[in-house]
């Protein structure tokens, strides 16, 4: 259990700014997900926390103790690597007990603690096997067991589920969440999978090009994405982003594009000039199918229809732009139909020409 502080931390590899002026606080017992595309600096951030890399500048503290240049072993963290890094020549029991052995715990305590952890992770029947003789999911649990066995202050995970198949991944996800709540330990978790981050995190930090572009609870990040990048990264399918022109006329404001026309509260657009280029953002589940053009915000022709069971995804082309709607229950239109959609204004997000969200 610990508080973690990143204070203007940067890590450069030559000309590459892998981590660029990152600051955040992690509260005691909080589960933080670092989310972003490949190469955005997630792993490097994690390694800075573990002490496997040293920052180019900035400060890292755990429980008010400065650990910026402390060795990994002085930080009391447990880490699960993407490849699990199980030692192939040791049994599962020896793997799990290794951190205890290194710390010189007596053999009896080691065995007891190993059995304990293995049982709570459901791998106690595998203790005598070797890593090569167990499944991917079991290897992942073994790796987690080894990371928690010495009760570290902070857990670090680097895409621990990415080597599992889809079904196992969902299972392992709930299991990790449960474990973290049970142990109440502070966790920093790296993933490029937005669903995983949404499901696990108390707060998500979205990274882009070495920077944290937004940090907040999953639903806040989902509902109020700080930039078009975040809007596009979260959600499956992601938020629809449509370039529009702002029309101000006599105290009223409208957003217009070919096939699209929607009124917005003039207050939201007050800092822009008439004719400004903005981006309209709307989540697929906030597009309502309406029967006729009269109430519609926009009209498009149906490009694909994907029935997924509880919902159906409809993708339309609107003047060459693809816009996806998620429909529940409605009788879906068919391929090639003309479909009319309505967007309620309170579901509509605006981004300025730099892609930054416009506050309401």
């Amino acid at each position: 259990m610990a508080r973690v502080v990143f204070d203007h931390v940067s890590k450069h590899f030559g000309a590459v700014r892998a981590v660029d002026d990152v600051s955040f606080d992690i509260e005691d017992g909080e589960f933080i997900c670092l989310l972003g595309p490949s190469g955005c600096g997630k792993t490097t951030t994690l390694r800075l926390m573990a002490g496997l890399e040293q920052p180019t500048s900035g400060r890292i503290a755990v429980d008010d103790r400065d650990v910026t240049f402390a060795k990994p072993k002085e930080r009391d963290v447990g880490m699960v690597f993407q490849d699990y890094a199980l030692f192939p020549h040791m049994t599962i029991a020896e793997n799990i007990a290794y951190p205890l052995k290194v710390r010189g715990a007596p053999a009896k305590d080691r065995a007891a603690r190993t059995a304990d952890v293995a049982q709570s992770l459901g791998i106690d029947h595998l203790l005598e096997r070797r890593p090569g003789q167990i499944s991917g999911g079991q290897q992942q649990r073994t790796s987690v067991a080894r990371a928690v066995v010495h009760k570290p202050k902070v857990f670090l995970f680097d895409e621990p589920l990415s080597n599992l198949d889809a079904k196992l991944r969902v299972e392992a996800r709930s299991f990790l969440k449960h474990l973290q709540v049970e142990l109440g330990v502070t966790a920093l978790y790296v993933t490029h999978d937005q669903a995983e981050a949404m499901a696990l995190a108390d707060r998500i930090a979205v990274m882009e090009g070495g920077r944290v572009v937004q940090m907040g609870p999953p639903l806040e990040v989902y509902r109020k994405p700080a930039t078009t990048f975040v809007a596009n990264f979260l959600g499956n399918p992601p938020m629809n982003l449509v370039p529009v022109k702002l029309r101000l006329d006599g105290g009223r404001a409208r957003l217009q594009a070919a096939g699209l026309d929607v009124a917005v509260d003039p207050g939201r657009a007050s800092r822009f000039r008439d004719g400004a280029d903005l981006t309209l953002g709307v989540r697929p589940e906030h597009l309502r199918l309406v029967p006729d053009a009269g109430e519609a915000t926009f009209t498009g022709s149906v490009y694909t229809v994907e029935p997924l069971g509880p919902e159906t995804l409809i993708t339309c082309t609107v003047d060459g732009q693809l816009v996806t709607a998620r429909l529940f229950g409605d009788e879906p239109p068919e391929l090639g139909d003309t479909a009319h959609f309505r967007i309620d204004e309170h579901h509509l997000e605006l981004f300025d020409d730099a892609g930054v969200r416009v506050e309401r």
Binding site: L52, V77, P99
Partner: protein, 302 residues
């Protein structure tokens, strides 16, 4: 089972094989049998054995192992002991340990020091024997040698390397000569360990010694076995010390390969020399069998 497909008809294949096979038979297989036969005769270049060699049974072997002379200087037993020391100190301790230490020191580091040391080690390994031996003679010479000049420069007394401590000299020489092989082998072995394994150890708090003992050595065990066997065989059979000390002074550096040479080609006592050759061959065979069984055992535990 998939049908075996051949590129060439068997006869054509054998034809291609023939030149190599002829050379192997002419220069390895036939001499081997010839040596085996000769080792039971009193064949020599001079004296009665030269004209009418005849079979003497086990006499040559019994002479080698005669308890009264076995351990006297210049005899087989003493030579075996010298060879044992030579292998132990120059190959197992010198080359293997030094090679591992160098590989470990330079593991995942890029610097000009690494480049320089590696290049020097490889140069020491690849230049021809005779050149190397000449250089070392010059290096170790009592009066004019580079090493003694360095020692005097540092205010230390001169050492008579070739006459005073000849064993130490050839051990240093052979260590220097062969370390590159072990270093390269261990470097590539270390390179095959996933970095996350060692980083896991770092995070769990293992110190350098624990990492070496618990993770690195077990993971590169098969490389170590291979290395030890190969350098043991090479060092056991090497003849190069002859070029530096000639086996002397007073047989003190006469390893078995030099003994064989002296008996067979200086005293021209082919029978006795062949007997030593046969025993060396058996010892080599024993090493090879141990090696193969270690490798097999590894596969079984996989």
């Amino acid at each position: 089972m998939p049908e075996r497909r051949t590129i060439l008809p068997l006869r054509t294949g054998l034809l291609f094989l023939a030149p190599a096979a002829i050379f192997v038979v002419a220069f390895i297989v036939l001499p081997f049998f010839w040596v085996a036969v000769v080792s039971f005769t009193n064949r020599s270049l001079t004296g009665p054995g030269a004209l009418h060699p005849h079979f003497v049974g086990l006499t040559n072997y019994l002479q080698l192992f005669a308890p009264r002379t076995f351990l006297q200087p210049g005899q087989f037993g003493s030579s075996l002991l010298i060879t044992g020391q030579f292998v132990l100190f120059s190959a197992l301790i010198g080359q293997a340990v030094l090679g591992l230490v160098l590989a470990w020191l330079f593991y995942r580091r890029e610097s000009w020091v690494k480049q320089t040391v590696q290049t020097l080690a490889i140069v020491a390994w690849i230049i021809p024997d005779v050149v190397v031996a000449f250089a070392w003679s010059a290096f170790l010479d009592y009066g004019q040698g580079t090493l003694n000049h360095i020692l005097t420069g540092l205010g230390l007394p001169r050492v008579d390397w070739l006459l005073g401590v000849p064993m130490l000299s050839i051990i240093l020489f052979n260590t220097w000569r062969g370390t590159a092989f072990s270093m390269l082998l261990f470097s590539s072995a270390l390179g095959s360990i996933p970095p996350s394994h060692l980083e896991t150890a770092d995070v769990t708090g293992a110190n350098a010694w624990q990492k070496l003992r618990d993770i690195i050595l077990p993971l590169i065990r098969t490389h170590i076995v291979t290395d030890l066997i190969l350098i043991t065989l090479w060092t056991f059979n090497t003849f190069t010390p002859f070029l530096i000390t000639g086996g002397g002074p007073a047989f003190r550096t006469e390893v078995v390969s030099i003994l064989t040479y002296r008996i067979a080609f200086k005293y021209f006592n082919f029978g006795s020399g062949s007997a030593i050759g046969m025993i060396m061959m058996l010892i080599n065979l024993a090493f090879a069998l141990v090696y193969l069984s270690l490798l097999r055992r590894r596969e079984a535990t996989r």
